[in-house]
Point group: C2
Chain length 244, copies 2
């Protein structure tokens, strides 16, 4: 049986979703729980999206296989019994063996949260604290440059030799202001390493006057990894939705 699982997590305590040698990953915690439930020490999951250290998810997806058939609602409850308070299984589904959590992704939606007001203790680890005055109109104007299909070489840290194709399509990109909170909402067919953070970081630099629109255009027109990029903190980043 192939199981598709949807999970939410607060990323503050983890080195990221994917297992690493340097600390506890969300994958480690989930696999430990599943290994107990299925009594299989080498059970592995396949995740839709690696999220980095401190990055959160409202809707991450993974799959795994096991011959034992457990009813979805019961398995959801069983896994949650083994989860700490910062990881929560939202949904378990039985899926066809042709389903693949990573290869079949149609699009992913991320949000990035910025606090423009006084430092807020309740956003500690949950938002980027911005002390600069931002020209939000200009940022919204520049955000339109990212829509559609482009070479995003200048806007990520995935090495070209390993990821030669850095063309991606952005379907939605909205910047919403609600009081002192600024939310960047971005939906695309795929995202390279640190891509959302570098796009948001670039727009923050533009908003505070360190870059102008022609600089951003230049990053598209002459794709390069050699220039300094502003890789904003992962704390404000949320994986919101994965669609198949």
């Amino acid at each position: 049986m192939r199981y598709k699982v949807t999970v939410a997590y607060d990323g503050r305590a983890y080195v990221g979703f994917q297992s690493q040698i340097n600390g506890l990953a969300i994958q480690d915690v989930i696999e430990k729980g599943l290994r107990k439930i299925f009594n299989q020490d080498d059970l592995r999951i396949v995740m839709a999206s690696r999220t980095d250290k401190g990055v959160h998810a409202r809707d991450q997806v993974f799959h795994f296989d096991h011959e034992k058939v457990i009813e979805p609602a019961r398995l959801k409850m069983a896994i949650n019994t083994f989860m700490p308070n910062d990881i929560h299984i939202l949904k378990v589904e039985h899926v066809d063996s042709s389903f693949h959590a990573r290869y079949l992704v149609k699009n992913k939606t991320y949000e990035y949260l910025v606090n423009l007001g006084e430092y807020d203790v309740f956003l500690n680890g949950y938002a980027y604290q911005c002390y600069y005055k931002l020209d939000i109109e200009k940022m919204i104007e520049a955000s339109k440059l990212f829509l559609g299909t482009h070479d995003f070489t200048s806007f990520n840290t995935s090495p070209k030799d390993l990821y030669p194709n850095q063309v991606r399509t952005i379907y939605e990109f909205e910047i919403r202001k609600d009081g002192d909170r600024l939310t960047f909402h971005i939906k695309g067919d795929g995202f390279l390493r640190h891509m959302v953070r570098i796009i948001v970081g670039t727009l923050i630099e533009l908003g505070r006057g360190k870059k102008n629109i022609s600089d951003v255009k230049e990053m598209f027109d002459h794709p390069t990894k050699s220039k300094r990029r502003y890789n904003i903190d992962g704390a404000g980043l949320y994986l919101m939705k994965i669609e198949y």
Copy 2:
């Protein structure tokens, strides 16, 4: 010089605001910072409100005295330099020596947050997770019984011998539903120990059908400490405002 200070904190890591022998209190952290700034080892603060273990504040107030005069904005910045990420000084004011953070309080506003939906990792430590179906109309109806001046003996855990007068006045009590989140907003001239938590707990019991309106009336009509009271978790409680 008497200083009035307004502070916000995430209470998750602390035993409460007031110093205790059994763990780190918010008062300890603040006094440690002030003692360094003013170079006085026995500097003490006077708080407006003791908040319990795990309880949060968006607007707590304290005062302290020191002969040295530091300009408010500079002192605010200096204290925040010594604060961890979960405590933040919002405001420092020079006040007259007749000001007293506790004795001169006119009213206090608290909010209590309940999550009625699926468990949310981002509300871990920030809300009460309610798995019961609640009759919210009935709760709103009962909430009106608390408005005005009453003997709140049945609704707190302050001992009668130490606090003989348990009459308090509630000016505002609103229950707001926003999607799956239920917020109890309550403003009064003063609150006894666990009073907000017991009032909210009583209304939750009513909403899930374990109590009815006549039971709540009975608690007012025959004030007693001898009956079991539902003292709901402090994690959902926020001190929102103190007015003088």
